[in-house]
């Protein structure tokens, strides 16, 4: 029973997925209830997590492979929130699409449970299974649209995902070969005990892990699928990929690298690798984003650039004064801030694109007159992506760049700040279109309640954490602190 209790938040989500399939099959006339069932399942999941927080008695289950701790709790909340927003943002689109409504929500929830398992796994096999549990529904979702673009996106995502998974599995196998265990903590102990005798194998294993997860994180050079898939996949699914699976990948990388590969001789290597990848990733993402004319493609490159920012936090482990989780807590804070921000952007894009039937940035001209609410929400979230106060994105950048400076990565922070300036150029381009462009069509765009609610929540989150960042920062700091003893 203990195991079921520990995995309760995931089970609630999966249960809701099952209920959705049943309702869809048995009472098809009640289809409009499906998203609400999904939201209820997510709410139960969050309540279950809250009950664990209230019990304050964190434990592991299934032979230590699944760990309920501050870190996984942070991500349980994050994923439940992200998925709820995606469900809300999907309602209009799914209704219009018509077919397979039950399957759609069930897949979204299944993927969510996979993301949650990913953040809690402390065993390589559990992690791998969780990764597949989250990925396979996403492959299907990416190809959900009726048009050929969506099919292409789904297929491309599937095939490249398969390559990434195989590289990952290979890396995990090497780790197992060197240490004889799949448990992260034991791997860490064995490596610390045996010293750098097996360094060459470990470096290869580490690189394969970076490649495998780098695919999900959208880190250069494993990012090439991102713009194609974001552009081709249904927009709510692209939103889900851009925040959900990216956050889960960063969560699991943080856990594996701190817990299993935390030995000094390895961490020096991977922090350098992450530093260089960070610089390359943000630069490639931003430089490519400048010339995009399609907003979804631009957001794809922007999400690559943001991944580069997150990597700064992973690279910043050599902070003076023993605070080597400062960077990791920065990553968590940034992920949460980014989730609100990027979801807000995508929700606005979903609503606008649906009405104007175009993803071209130039067609967003004069949107301010047609829908002040969508324009303001979108503009505010873009301001947060740029990293300008009073937004959550500002504090996130400040936090992570400060960690970089403290870890003697000043060169990387300079690159990061210059990149922020470049990113301001294309984010500002969209804002300028919204407010000053002239549009031929001036009919008002009405937002549905679900879109209004999700954009409102996202923008409110960006604003509230932009004014009062400390609660979220404390949560991120507590979550990252579980690695402090290693």
């Amino acid at each position: 029973m203990n195991g079921i209790d520990v995995a309760g938040p995931q089970i609630a989500v999966l249960g809701a997925a099952g209920v959705i399939l049943l309702v869809d099959a048995l009472v098809p006339q009640q289809r409009r209830l499906l998203p609400f069932i999904a939201l209820i399942g997510l709410a139960v999941s969050a309540l279950w997590t809250i009950s664990w927080v209230a019990r304050d008695d964190y434990q592991t289950a299934f032979g230590g492979t699944l760990s309920l701790d501050h870190f996984s709790v942070f991500f349980y909340f994050l994923f439940a929130g992200i998925t709820a927003m995606v469900v809300l943002a999907s309602i209009d689109w799914v209704n219009r699409e018509g077919r397979g409504q039950g399957e759609y929500y069930a897949l979204v929830l299944t993927a969510c449970s996979g993301l949650m398992f990913l953040s809690a796994g402390r065993d390589l096999i559990t992690i791998f299974i969780a990764l597949e549990l989250s990925s396979i529904p996403q492959y299907v979702l990416a190809g959900w649209g009726k048009d050929v673009r969506s099919s292409e996106a789904g297929l491309k995502y599937l095939l490249l995902g398969a390559i990434a998974s195989s590289l990952l599995l290979y890396g995990m196998a090497l780790l197992y070969g060197v240490t004889g265990t799949t448990m992260l903590a034991e791997i860490g102990e064995t490596i610390a005990w045996s010293g750098d005798a097996n360094r060459s194998v470990l470096v290869v294993a580490m690189t394969l892990l970076i490649a495998g997860f780098g695919f999900k994180m959208a880190v250069v050079p494993f990012q090439m699928w991102v713009p194609d898939v974001y552009q081709g996949a249904p927009t709510p699914v692209a939103a889900y990929l851009s925040v959900g699976s990216k956050a889960a990948a960063f969560a699991v990388v943080t856990r594996i690298f701190f817990e299993a590969l935390g030995a000094r001789f390895l961490s020096d290597d991977w922090s350098n690798v992450f530093a260089v990848l960070a610089a390359v990733t943000m630069t490639v993402g931003n430089v490519m984003a400048i010339v995009q004319t399609d907003i979804k493609r631009m957001l794809g490159y922007s999400s690559i650039a943001q991944a580069g920012n997150f990597l700064v936090g992973l690279a910043a482990i050599s902070v003076a004064g023993g605070e080597f989780t400062l960077g990791a807590s920065g990553v968590l804070f940034f992920l949460a801030a980014y989730a609100f921000t990027n979801l807000g952007v995508f929700v606005a894009v979903i609503a606008i694109s649906q009405k104007i039937g175009s993803d071209q940035i130039r067609d967003y001209a004069g949107m301010w007159k047609r829908s002040p609410f969508l324009s303001l929400g979108l503009a505010f979230c873009l301001v947060s992506l740029t990293g300008i106060p009073p937004t959550a994105g500002f504090w996130a950048k400040l936090y992570i760049f400060n960690a970089g400076i403290r870890a003697d990565l000043t060169w990387l922070v300079v690159v990061g700040v210059l990149n922020s300036l470049v990113s301001a150029y294309y984010y500002w381009g969209v804002i300028r279109q919204l407010f000053t462009g002239a549009s031929e069509d001036s009919t008002a765009i009405r937002t549905s309640p679900s879109i209004g609610l999700s954009l409102g929540v996202a923008a409110a989150g960006v604003f509230v954490f932009g004014i009062l960042p400390m609660p979220l920062i404390s949560a991120a700091r507590d979550a990252a602190a579980i690695f402090a003893q290693h």
């Binding site: 673009r149 470096v203 695919f215 050079p221 194609d228 490519m288 920065g330 300008i388 400390m470």
Partner: protein, 648 residues
């Protein structure tokens, strides 16, 4: 009259009142943004209510600080911590803050009332007041902030609202260009401010104003840090306060609505730079070198701007260059240890310059133009505007006993003590100031009316009411604020006759080398005489026409050309830097990016823009393999790089 009876002590004002000052305009802003589409008419009244509340509370604050004899109260809270980086969120109130609060809110209040009339009928009526509220809040935040970090945030918000208001009529290409120019030029200065802020934080670990002042004046940090920090602050201040060589944006900023020019580009925002330097005055004192830079840049700015103002034909641009010149005066004073003189001049200047700008708006309201060659003789039709404008001009020229006389006198005294060169600059600027202001008055209000600018009824953007051929006095919402502003333009200078104003704001500094102000007869008499001489020259040329302006222009042709072309600075910036260096460079960069980076990396992925058949066949025709290859190459490169950097 202010009289400080006891030693300064901590003001008892409730922290909530200070936050309420900051909050009331932003509440008005939020209400306008949310509801203005339904009720555009209430936007103006909401603004007046919001700013009026802030104004009333500012006076409460001022009297409280006077009760405390100019003591300092700081209420600060931890806002954000990460490692050793701590950012506070707090308010600081002292004499300097209190004076600034009163100046900002009272001028803002009058300008908002005036705007009711001036902006009536404009389709952007609601948007205008929303921006005005945003501006007022940002300015108040800047003044209240107790740390550099918050100051910088509000500083940028001030810049943003200024950008929005200069480009308020953004469909006019000249307005859009002016807004962009202002934004970019001030960003250049802000880069310096940001660098200074990062420098001082990295060396001292704090953003708090009082701690920085203390560290600098007690020499707890290397001298070069103090100097470069001070220069960074001054770079930001030079951008915002339009100091040479970053002054070029301010004349163009006159493209905004005239009340905006009065509030932002004359009375408050442009004075923010002076405020910032004054706030960190102990740092400039400690540096010495930076202080001299401030003094001489201020002097050069005052001189250059005054000479350009002599040859302008646009009514508002005369005032714009005059503002730059007066801001240079304030900087000159700060650099010459004249902290009190500078703030005092900021204080008096805010009133009479706002008055002059609103007066020019009133004239525009009657004639539909700012071109002085199309005006003349308006004193009969517009008596209120005329007389208030004369009062403002006499005050600016520094004629006894108007406000400008007292503050200008203190500046010249400070300059005299610091260096004769600075005094000569200040002295000649005083002459030119009187001359160009009365030139403007004579051209606009005397002589015969030349018909104004006919209304172009085909221009959809033109919302001019009335008939420029028959000018008339403006309605009471516009004339009223003029009359009200005339009072401080006359009397604001009397506050420091016994040195009370000076003592009051001096307590805002931790310690000071400045002696209380005193009155020097020589300075006072000579500066008054030179101002009268300036007025007389204008009278001789434009009323009596003993010498025509044409003759003078021909006599000094090369000099006049330099003035008219604004010392060629716009040509240098726009033709050389912007067009040649930046635009070509940027285009070239984009081209290279397109050609090599984008085409190179993503050649294959153009499939989505290509034909359906290509899209369908994409998986077979190479690009997917490209991505897979990227994966493999990435893994190999990382492994090789790790071993190369850190061999076995």
């Amino acid at each position: 009259m202010l009289l400080l009876e006891s030693a300064p002590h901590v003001p008892t004002i409730a922290e909530g009142i200070l936050w309420a000052i900051l909050a009331s305009p932003i509440v008005a802003w939020a209400l306008i943004v949310l509801y203005v589409r339904k009720l555009p008419k209430i936007a103006g009244w909401l603004t007046v209510a919001g700013v009026g509340t802030a104004c009333a509370l500012s006076f409460v604050t001022l009297f409280n600080v006077i009760d405390a004899s100019g003591g300092i109260a700081i209420h600060t809270h931890e806002w954000f911590t990460a490692g050793n980086l701590t950012v506070h969120f707090g308010v600081r109130v002292d004499g300097l803050t209190a004076v600034m609060l009163v100046v900002v809110t009272s001028v803002s209040l009058l300008v908002q009332v005036y705007s009711h009339g001036y902006m009536a009928g404009d389709p952007g009526y609601g948007r205008y007041f929303a921006h005005m509220c945003l501006f007022t809040t940002s300015m108040l935040g800047l003044v209240l902030a107790d740390n550099l970090f918050m100051m910088f945030m509000f500083w940028e918000l001030v810049g943003l609202s200024s950008y929005l208001l200069i480009g308020f009529w953004f469909h006019k290409p000249s307005a859009a260009a002016a807004a962009k120019k202002a934004f970019i030029v001030t960003r250049v200065g802000d880069l310096g401010l940001l660098a200074g802020m990062l420098l001082i934080w990295s060396k001292t670990g704090t953003f708090q104003v009082d701690e920085i002042q203390k560290i600098a004046s007690e020499g707890l940090v290397a001298h070069w840090v103090v100097t470069w920090f001070a220069l960074g602050i001054f770079a930001g201040a030079a951008g915002k306060s339009a100091q040479f060589p970053l002054h070029v944006w301010l004349p163009d900023a006159m493209e905004g609505p005239t009340p905006v020019s009065a509030l932002i580009h004359a009375a408050t925002m442009v004075a923010a730079g002076v405020y910032l330097v004054a706030r960190f005055f102990p740092v400039f004192e400690a540096s010495g070198d930076a202080r001299l830079v401030v003094a001489w840049i201020g002097g050069i700015t005052a001189l250059i701007a005054a000479t350009i103002a002599l040859v302008q034909t646009d009514f508002k641009r005369v005032l714009a260059y005059s503002t730059i010149s007066q801001l240079g005066y304030m900087m000159l004073a700060l650099g010459a240890f004249g902290y009190v003189a500078a703030i005092f001049h900021l204080f008096t200047h805010a009133f009479f310059k706002a008055l002059l700008f609103l007066g020019s708006g009133s004239v525009n309201h009657a004639t539909n133009t700012f071109d002085m060659r199309k005006m003349g003789g308006l004193r009969k039709q517009m008596p209120v505007t005329y007389w208030t404008f004369v009062i403002g001009s006499l005050s600016l020229a520094g004629i006894f006993p108007l406000a400008g006389f007292w503050s200008k006198d203190e500046i010249l005294l400070a300059a005299w003590r610091e260096s004769r060169g600075l005094w000569i600059i200040g002295f000649s600027v005083a002459f030119m100031t009187a001359a160009y202001m009365f030139r403007a008055i004579f051209l606009t209000f005397h002589g015969t009316y030349k018909g104004g600018e006919p209304v172009d009824h085909h221009d959809p953007d033109n919302h001019f009411h009335g008939d420029p051929a028959h000018p008339h006095e403006s309605p009471w919402v516009m004339a009223g604020p003029l009359a009200v502003l005339a009072v401080p333009a006359i009397a604001a200078g009397w506050f420091n006759i016994n040195g009370a104003f000076g003592d009051f704001i001096l307590h805002a500094l931790p310690e000071t080398t400045e002696k209380g102000s005193e009155f020097a007869w020589g300075i006072a008499i000579s500066s008054t005489l030179v101002a009268l001489a300036g007025i007389f020259v204008a009278y001789a040329v434009y009323i009596r026409e003993w010498v025509t302006s044409k003759t003078i222009r021909e006599g000094f042709a090369p000099l006049a050309m330099v003035f008219e072309r604004k010392y060629f600075l716009d040509n240098l910036y726009e033709d050389f830097f912007v067009r040649t260096v930046l635009q070509r460079g940027w285009n070239r960069l984009l081209e290279l990016n397109d050609k090599y980076v984008v085409d190179g990396i993503v050649n294959g992925s153009a499939s989505l823009a290509g034909s359906v058949s290509r899209r369908a066949g994409v998986v077979q025709n190479g690009q997917f393999q490209t991505y897979g290859l990227g994966f493999a190459a990435g893994v190999i490169v990382v492994v090789v790089a790790v071993f190369a950097a850190h061999p076995l």
